[in-house]
């Protein structure tokens, strides 16, 4: 059955969670990984899923030389 954007958002969220502390993932890495796992899913659905994660605050964009998708956390450079 065709996946919804919400379901793909959960898939992406879990990928990000599992990679936390090991590897920073970019939107393109996540899109490729989702399509490999679910070949019937297209790029637009992945885009919509990432939007859902960002708008809900479950994930955040970070920038370290390039833009990544991560779980919200306190960065080490931050001052209180």
């Amino acid at each position: 059955m065709a996946k919804t954007a919400e379901e793909i958002a959960d898939v992406i969220f879990n990928m990000v969670k599992e990679a936390t502390g090991l590897k920073k993932l970019k939107a393109t890495d996540l899109t490729k990984a989702v399509i490999e796992l679910h070949p019937d899913v297209d790029k637009q659905l992945c885009k919509d899923a990432i939007k859902i994660l960002m708008n809900s605050g479950r994930c955040v964009y970070t920038y370290f030389g390039g833009s990544y998708i991560e779980l919200p956390h306190r960065e080490s450079a931050a001052n209180d």
């Binding site: 970019k26 393109t28 960002m54 920038y63 390039g66 833009s67 001052n79």
Partner: protein
């Protein structure tokens, strides 16, 4: 707060001379902004020690967006608590940088309420830059800006805020409506601007004619530069008038034409338009006598960048001439294909120009389904734009027949 009578002998040196001084501006702001006062203190210390005291913050932003805020923290927060956070905000500027004074006041009022009051009008990409605020102020600033019709610009691996020259709003040389195209691309690519999903940044810059006042050929991944494909319009009487007023048409115009396609016999100027390189030289020198042709559009070029991973690149021709008319389908279609290929195959932090160099122009053109043409050759005998496969196939076929 640092003592606002703090001595800044190193910075004071930068106030000397006839030119504008950022130190003078920060001192002016420091009269009422504690952030600007601590900024002076931290800068003075940096100049003394020859060490920067900023830390990069990679995580601050507004909810949902991945661009528009660049995080900065002081590594001397106890000494300069007012610049402990000193984030930069990029705001999407209006096409051609046209503002009403009311809009400028609105921007400055928002910024004085929530930040240091220091601005940079404008950053090198073109955005309005607000310098120095703290994390708790980011969402309130964003909400006040959007209420007034402004939005954040791009940063990170996304489409950077498109920018253009003043175009037909003020300039008679504009060969297309740069402002309209810039606005359209900005609105069409909102997602790509706010939600980074590329290997690295992607900049659009629109210039109305080959004078290229926004230097798009050197500074943008996609340069859209106005041009014409018919003949330069010549007002013969006006040419004679220039000559009668003392202009040396032979020396100043004909001999400086890079295509050597002009002739002047003292009475009439002849241009061999098929050789003209559309450089604008003659038109700039005799604006009353010469104008771009009537069949106008743009050359689309790709791949410029400043040096980071590889050296600096100028953009090179993708489409020698296209008409630039709404809804700009040809540009948007090719951009979608370029982003697809680059997102799929590009390396992290690899600009499109570097990507093309790595995979080869021939392979790139094939992937985006654009036919090679001679105008794409940047340097003769260098661009691998000729596809040899078909010749090999023919040869193989011939051998089999033998």
């Amino acid at each position: 707060m640092a003592d606002n009578t703090v001595k800044t002998p190193m910075l004071d040196e930068l106030e000397k001379g006839k030119w504008p001084s950022f130190v003078k501006e920060i001192k002016m702001a420091a009269k009422k902004s504690p952030m600007a006062q601590d900024l002076l203190g931290q800068l003075e210390q940096s100049y003394n020690e020859k060490i920067g005291h900023w830390k990069h913050g990679g995580i601050v932003g507004v909810m949902g967006y991945g661009g528009g805020v660049i995080g900065r923290y002081s590594d001397l927060p106890d000494k300069f608590p007012n610049v402990s956070h000193f984030h930069t905000i990029r705001i999407n500027h209006p096409s051609g940088w046209f503002y009403t004074s009311k809009a400028l006041r609105t921007l400055c009022d928002i910024w004085e309420r929530h930040g240091s009051g220091l601005t940079n009008m404008h950053g090198s990409t073109g955005d309005i830059i607000f310098l120095g605020t703290s994390t708790p102020h980011l969402e309130p600033i964003f909400s006040e800006l959007t209420k007034e019709g402004f939005d954040l610009g791009g940063s990170g691996s996304d489409v950077r805020t498109p920018s253009c020259c003043v175009g037909p709003a003020r300039c008679e040389w504009a060969c297309y409506d740069t402002l309209a195209l810039t606005y359209d691309l900005t609105m069409s690519f909102q997602d790509e601007l706010h939600r980074p999903a590329f290997p690295y940044k992607y900049k659009f810059k629109m210039s109305g004619c080959p004078n290229d006042c926004v230097a798009s050929i050197a500074r943008s991944d996609m340069s859209i530069i106005g041009t014409w494909r018919d003949s330069i319009q010549v007002n013969k009487d006006a040419v004679l008038e220039y000559a009668s007023k003392g202009m040396n048409i032979q020396k100043d115009i004909v001999e400086n034409c890079p295509a050597k396609c002009m002739e002047w016999d003292g009475k009439e100027l002849h241009i061999e338009n098929s050789y003209c390189r559309r450089c604008m030289h003659c038109i700039n020198i005799m604006p009353k006598a010469l104008r771009p042709g009537k069949d106008r559009g743009a050359t689309v070029l790709i791949g410029a960048k400043a040096p980071i991973i590889e050296g600096a690149l100028l953009s090179s021709v993708l489409f020698p001439f296209i008409k630039i008319e709404p809804p700009y389908k040809q540009i948007k279609d090719v951009v979608a294909k370029i982003w697809d290929v680059w997102s799929e195959e590009g390396k992290n932090r690899e600009r499109i120009g570097e990507f093309i160099q790595r995979v080869g122009l021939g392979n790139f053109l094939e992937a985006i389904e654009v036919e090679p043409v001679a105008e794409m050759v940047a340097h003769p005998r260098e661009n691998p734009y000729v596809f040899y496969e078909e010749y090999f196939e023919e040869d193989e076929g011939e051998e089999e027949e033998k």
